[in-house]
C-alpha cells in the first residue's frame, strides 16, 4: 500500500463511527440470519457495509448525478459530455471542444473547453495524470486486486483494536443490539423468557447445589423445545438470566455457566478483609536491587506485575499466613495461567483437585480481589502451616486445577511461632511437628488463631501505621537469633500476620528508617538507640 493511501486509511479508521443506517443494516442482517453473531461477524459485516457505501459514494462522485460525470483532470472527455465541478461550487457544464495543451512542467496533455451553466466558458486540463483532483480517496482496492471483503479483513487485522472498540462503544450506547459472551442480537427480537421460567431456573439451580449449569443444561431441564434457532434460544435465556439479580454468570472466557447467587460462599460475595490490600504502585518504593529481586521472588499478588513474566506450566509457591488463615491461594501474575479467566464475570467457578488423594473440592476464582477460595479443607487435612510449599498444576479442563501439597515425613522442628499476649503480637521459636516441605525463612506456626486474629482486627480497626507494625515485629524477631539479625523474607512473612502487606512497603521501611542496618545478604539488624518509641 502506498504511503499516501496508508495515511488516508489511517484517517478513515481514526474517524470511524457508526451512523443510523449502519445500525439498520446490522439489525436487518441479524433479523435475516435469526442467529446471534459473534464479535468478528458483526465487525466484518459493518466494515463491508461501510466500505461498499464509500465505494458507491466515490462512484457517484465520479459518475455524478444521472449522466453528469464528476470532472477529474486525469480523465479524457469528448465534446458533448456533461460534467460537474465540485470544487467550483458544483457548477455544471458541457464540453464543447478539446485541444492539445502544453507547459514545461506537465508536458503534453489535453484541454477541454467547457460551456458552463453560468454562461461562462472555461478551460480545464484533461488526461493530466498528476493533479490533486485525480487521487483515489480511500483506495478501496487497498492492496491491488483485493475485494471489499478482503480489504475489510485487512482493516480488522491492522486496526482491529480501534475499529472494534468504536463499534462496541457505538452499539452499546445505542442499546438496541445487545451483547452476551461475545455474541450480538437485537433485543426486541429475543425469545421471551417468562418470569415463570425464571422461577423454574432458580429451582433447578437450587436443586443442583446452586450450580453451575450451562444454559443448554438449564434448557433441557426446563423442557423447553428450541423451535427455530437453538442458538437464539440460548442467547435469549442467557440475556434473561443476566438481567435477573438472582443469577450469577460464573463461566470462564468462552463459556457461560450460571450459579444461584444466594448459594455462593460468603467469602465470594464479601471478600475477607484479611486479604484486602492496595496494589503497589510501581517505582513508589525505591528499593535497592537486592531487595527488589527479593520482592520479585516472593510473588505477592499485589506487587507490581513483572511484564517479562511469561509463566507457563506448574507453579511452586509459598503459602502466606493471610491465605492460610482464609483457606485461599493468591491469584498473581505467576499463577494467572493456571486458573481460568473471564473478561466480564468477577467470579469463576472451578474445581480444585487434590493431587495426592484425587478428591475434588469446589473452588472460586475471585478476579478483582486476586484470590482463589476453597482450599481450607485441604489445608486442614494436611495440617499445612504458613510457609508451606504448594505446587499448582493446570489440568486439561480449563476450569480444573491440581493442587499438590508438598508432603514429607513429619519431623519435630524449631519454627517461628506467633501468639497473642496481652493483646499484642509476640513471636518465639517453638518445636512443632511439621509434615510438609516449607520455606525456612517464611514458615510461621500460630498458637491460638483466634487471639492472633483479634490482634489483627485491633490493628486494622485502629489503622496503625505500617512503620509501627514493622518496628514492633522487627523487635520481636531480632531477639530470636544469636546474631540479632532478621531475614527480610521472615520480616515480610511475620508482618503479614499483623496486616496484609506486599513486600515492597515492608522493605521500603528497612531503607527509609535509620534504625535498621543492613548486615549482609538479606539480613538486617536494628539499632535501638536511634529509634523513636511508639505506643499502640
Amino acid at each position: 500500500m502506498k504511503k499516501t493511501q496508508k495515511r488516508v486509511v489511517a484517517d478513515w479508521v481514526e474517524s470511524f463511527c457508526l451512523h443510523p443506517d449502519d445500525y439498520d443494516h446490522l439489525a436487518d442482517r441479524l433479523l435475516e440470519s435469526s442467529t446471534p453473531w459473534s464479535n468478528e461477524e458483526v465487525a466484518l459485516s459493518l466494515l463491508i457495509f461501510k466500505l461498499m457505501q464509500e465505494e458507491r459514494s466515490q462512484g457517484k462522485t465520479q459518475r455524478g448525478n444521472g449522466n453528469v460525470e464528476i470532472y477529474r483532470p486525469d480523465k479524457g472527455y469528448e465534446p458533448g459530455q456533461a460534467l460537474r465541478f465540485p470544487v467550483l461550487e458544483d457548477i455544471e457544464g458541457k464540453v464543447i471542444s478539446v485541444r492539445k495543451g502544453f507547459n514545461w512542467t506537465d508536458g503534453e496533455f489535453r484541454v477541454i473547453v467547457v460551456s458552463c451553466d453560468d454562461n461562462c466558458t472555461r478551460e480545464f486540463a484533461s488526461m493530466l495524470p498528476k493533479h490533486a483532483l485525480s487521487t483515489d480517496d480511500l483506495g478501496l482496492s487497498g492492496i491491488e486486486g483485493q475485494t471489499v471483503d478482503e480489504f475489510a479483513r485487512f482493516l480488522l487485522r491492522e486496526h482491529g483494536t480501534h475499529l472494534w472498540g468504536q463499534i462496541k462503544k457505538d452499539l452499546i450506547s445505542r442499546g438496541e443490539i445487545v451483547c452476551l459472551a461475545g455474541y450480538w442480537f437485537p433485543r426486541d427480537l429475543l425469545v421471551e423468557i417468562s418470569s415463570g421460567h425464571l422461577n423454574l431456573v432458580e429451582a433447578i439451580l437450587d436443586v443442583s447445589a446452586g450450580g453451575p449449569l450451562t444454559p443448554e443444561e438449564i434448557l433441557q431441564q426446563l423442557g423447553v423445545r428450541a423451535d427455530g434457532d437453538r442458538q437464539l434460544m440460548i442467547f435469549s435465556l442467557n440475556y434473561a438470566l443476566q438481567q435477573d439479580q438472582r443469577f450469577d454468570e460464573v463461566g470462564p472466557s468462552g463459556s457461560v455457566l450460571w450459579f444461584l447467587r444466594s448459594m455462593e460462599p460468603t467469602e465470594i460475595i464479601f471478600p475477607p478483609e484479611r486479604l484486602r490490600c492496595q496494589p503497589v504502585v510501581p517505582d513508589v518504593h525505591l528499593l535497592s536491587p537486592d531487595l527488589e529481586q527479593l520482592a520479585l521472588h516472593l510473588h505477592d499478588e499485589f506487587s507490581p506485575e513483572n511484564e517479562s513474566y511469561g509463566a507457563e506450566g506448574p507453579v511452586e509457591m509459598v503459602l502466606s499466613y493471610p491465605h492460610r488463615c482464609t483457606g485461599t491461594l493468591p491469584l498473581g501474575a505467576n499463577t494467572a495461567h493456571i486458573f481460568p479467566e473471564a473478561q466480564i464475570s468477577p467470579r469463576i467457578k472451578i474445581t480444585i483437585r487434590d493431587a495426592l488423594s484425587g478428591d475434588q473440592l469446589p473452588g472460586w476464582v475471585v478476579q478483582h480481589e486476586r484470590f482463589v477460595s476453597g482450599l481450607g479443607p485441604l489445608y486442614e487435612k494436611y495440617e499445612v502451616p504458613a510457609g508451606a510449599r504448594i505446587t499448582l498444576l493446570p489440568c486439561a479442563a480449563s476450569s480444573e486445577v491440581l493442587v499438590q501439597i508438598d508432603l514429607r515425613k513429619s519431623v519435630r522442628e524449631w519454627v517461628l511461632t506467633a501468639s497473642a499476649v496481652d493483646d499484642k503480637l509476640r513471636f518465639r521459636m517453638s518445636k512443632r511437628l511439621v509434615g510438609v516441605h516449607y520455606a525456612e525463612e517464611q514458615i510461621i506456626a500460630v498458637d491460638d488463631v483466634e487471639d492472633v486474629e483479634a490482634v489483627w482486627e485491633r490493628l486494622h480497626k485502629n489503622r496503625v501505621a505500617l512503620e509501627h507494625t514493622v518496628l514492633e515485629v522487627f523487635r520481636e524477631l531480632v531477639q530470636l537469633t544469636p546474631q540479632g539479625a532478621v531475614h527480610a523474607k521472615t520480616l515480610y512473612s511475620a508482618v503479614n500476620v499483623a496486616r496484609r502487606t506486599p513486600p515492597e512497603p515492608v522493605f521500603g521501611e528497612l531503607l527509609k528508617r535509620s534504625y535498621y542496618r543492613h548486615v549482609g545478604e538479606a539480613y538486617w539488624t536494628h539499632d535501638s538507640d536511634s529509634e523513636d518509641r511508639y505506643t499502640d
Binding site: P73, F85, G101, N103, C120, F124
Partner: protein
C-alpha cells in the same frame, strides 16, 4: 470596498510594449538575465493548470515564468515596491483570483489603508490594468 478587482489583461492588449516592459520588471534576478531582449520567446503561449481546480489559463511565456517561478519566491511580495506593483504581484502570485479592496489590504499588510488602495486603483493612469471584475468573464487569467 467589496468590489472585487483583478488584472484585466485585455487592458494590456493595446499596450504590448509597455506590458512586456512592466512584466519583465517583476521577474526575479535569474530570469532578468534570461530575458535579455524583447524578442526572446515572448509570444509562446503555455497552458497553466490551476492546482486546485484543474482550470487552464493560456499565458504567454513571460507571464508563465512569473507565475510558476518568480512568484513563488518569498521576496516576490515582500520586496520594496510601489503600492500598485505590490498589488499587481499579488494577483500574479494568486493566479489572478479576484480580491476586494479589503482583502487586498489584508494580504499586503496595509489594513486601515483601504481608502488609499481604492483611490490608487481608481486612478486609471496608475492602475496598471488593475480593474474591477466584469461579469461574464469566464476565464481568470
Amino acid at each position: 470596498m467589496d468590489t472585487p478587482f483583478h488584472i484585466d489583461f485585455d487592458w494590456w492588449e493595446h499596450q504590448r510594449r509597455e506590458y512586456v516592459f512592466y512584466m519583465r520588471s517583476h521577474l526575479c534576478e535569474e530570469h532578468q538575465y534570461k530575458f535579455v531582449s524583447e524578442e526572446d520567446d515572448d509570444d509562446q503561449m503555455l497552458d497553466w493548470v490551476d492546482s486546485r481546480t484543474g482550470q487552464v489559463c493560456r499565458l504567454d511565456y513571460l507571464h508563465y515564468t512569473l507565475r510558476t517561478h518568480c512568484a513563488i519566491h518569498p521576496e516576490f511580495l515582500t520586496k520594496r515596491a510601489s503600492l500598485v506593483d505590490v498589488i499587481f504581484r499579488l494577483f500574479i502570485a494568486n493566479g489572478n483570483q479576484p480580491l476586494t479592496v479589503t482583502e487586498l489590504a489584508l494580504r499586503i499588510g496595509r489594513e486601515g489603508q483601504e481608502k488609499t488602495i481604492f483611490r490608487t486603483l481608481a486612478d486609471e493612469s496608475l492602475s496598471k490594468g488593475l480593474r474591477p471584475v466584469q461579469s461574464g468573464s469566464g476565464t481568470n487569467v
